[in-house]
Amino acid sequence: MTLLAGTQPRWFPLAREEARGLLTAKGPWILAVLLVLWGYRPTYVGWQGLGSNMTIGFLQTAGSFLLPLGVLLLSYRSVVGERTSGSLKFVLGLPMTRSDILVGKVLGRSAGIAIPISAAAVTLGVIGLIRFGAFSPLLFCGVLLSTVVYVMSLVSVGTAISAVTTSTVRAAGAAFGGVYLVFTAFWTKFAEIIYATVGTAPPETTVGTASVNSFSAPADGLFFLLLRLSPGRAYRVLTNWLLGVGNSGGSFDAVITKLETPTSITIYTVESAFHGQTPPAYLHELSGVVILLCWLLVPLGVARYRFERGDLV
């Protein structure tokens, strides 16, 4: 037992306790049920584009909009809640550095949320298997793994906010007002406004109304990079790539609609904007992984810097 304790990292018991706390609570399982209900959306166009692999697309649908909201909801209080209640005094009194505490929190809570979400993914897989037949198991695992990385990034952002705020109200404001609304739900709008304002847009797109829209998407790599800085869009760029539908941060069925059918809809895809020209190399779909990893590491790194130095009681 003591030997074991010597080999495991200092944050491991805390992480295990965090995970256990979530797995025995209702919240993450309610989220899992909602994700199944939200994610199961068979569409004709999805079937046309992916066949039975449409089932794997359900994971992406489940991973959009509802999942970030749920994960942020389950993370934003992780540190500040304990700080205001006073239970943080026990954790801070344990033989761990404050950085160990943040690592234990992020990894433990990621596990505690990723396990119910994986259960939801498997449920969607089973339903899809019964209704639409066998899909590629490797592809399923790839999209599930991407979803887990996305969950970890969101937990990390939520925990980072929690570690540097002094009240749960402020943490909620930053998590939902800042991260969720700006960077997830309405990022496309913000990106259009930023792009039009900063003015790197080629003249033809800024003439007149100085606006950018997806019907006349600028063939500018920087604009597409800006778009995928959102963790949600980065996640969909990555999963759309795995699904093989196109290079876009939109939902997989919308991308299929835009690229495979004569219907024109309001989403951005690299293919339609660049019309056969070669897009810049940095718009490769793997940029989605890089951006998700940035969301995982950068806010937490900044939070760690402040958390290590400040007064916590």
């Binding site: 010597g6 805390l14 306790e17 256990r20 801070l92 033989p95 761990m96 550095t97 007064d311």
Partner: protein
């Protein structure tokens, strides 16, 4: 020679306009039971918070068991048991899980059942702490502080919310831990509880250590009878201190 259990020099903590702690020089030798007394807001919890790395000092140095409490956190906390002030337990975790987390992190092999038995919570071992009364939470926190047989036990207002049985329990625990060689540093504003258990007391008032010594030395110096309680000593000393502060304030005003 062993390092003192606690040694601070000029330890200070300033919060914006408020001086919570003002140049504290404190030495607690290993094996001592030291009572850190003072009225509410005197700076007791601030001191403990600094020693526990809950907060960082604005000036001064400290050594806990020879370690720097702000850079050698792991080494320090490995050897300390803490019962914090104004804490909260985890509502949906059992008493057992509370102790297990501490034991696992410290790599200690204490049996949670035995520790909870010791603080009178043997029956409540698998109940979630959310159902506990304040006294039970205090007992649970005391049990948590004992995990890993610490060299230094820091108890911040350990008598809070306890009935007379609980108070007797804390005293027993302090006695037996002290016999085992543990240094005990505890803060209190409930003075009657203190005199039975302390080797030495220090009196903190408005962020300054006003005086310290053994009870008998205090009685002698302040010309009090042997019946004089900590209460009497305390009131006399803090009154003096109020008087001094008022005097020096008046002096300063006079000089302006």
């Amino acid at each position: 020679m062993t390092a003192p259990a606690i040694k601070t020099e000029g330890l200070s903590k300033q919060y914006d306009e408020v001086t919570a702690l003002d140049g504290l020089d404190l030495t607690v030798e290993q094996g001592e039971v030291y009572g850190f007394l003072g009225p509410n807001g005197a700076g007791k919890s601030t001191t403990i918070g600094l020693l526990m790395n809950y907060s960082k000092p604005t000036a001064g140095t400290a050594r806990v068991l020879g370690f720097d409490p702000w850079t050698d956190v792991v080494a320090c906390h490995q050897r300390i048991g803490i019962l914090p002030d104004r804490f909260d337990t985890y509502d949906n975790r059992s008493a057992r899980r509370h102790l297990q987390l501490v034991a696992d992190t410290k790599g200690a092999d204490n049996d949670p059942a035995a520790l909870l038995e010791r603080v009178g919570l043997g029956d409540a071992i698998d109940r979630p702490a959310g159902e506990f009364s304040q006294g039970m939470e205090q007992r649970l926190a005391l049990a948590m502080s004992l995990v890993g047989d610490p060299e230094l036990l820091i108890l911040d207002e350990p008598f809070t919310g306890l009935d007379p049985h609980g108070v007797a329990l804390v005293r027993d625990v302090v006695d037996s831990e002290s016999e085992r060689g543990t240094t005990v540093f505890f803060s209190s504003h409930v003075l009657g509880q203190v005199e039975v258990v302390c080797d030495r007391i220090g009196i903190l008032h408005r962020g300054r250590l006003v005086d310290e010594g053994t009870l008998s030395a205090f009685r002698e110096r302040l010309d009090l009878t042997a019946e004089a309680t900590v209460e009497d000593i305390f009131i006399q000393l803090t009154d003096e201190s109020v008087q001094q502060t008022a005097d020096s304030a008046r002096l300063r005003e006079g000089n302006q």
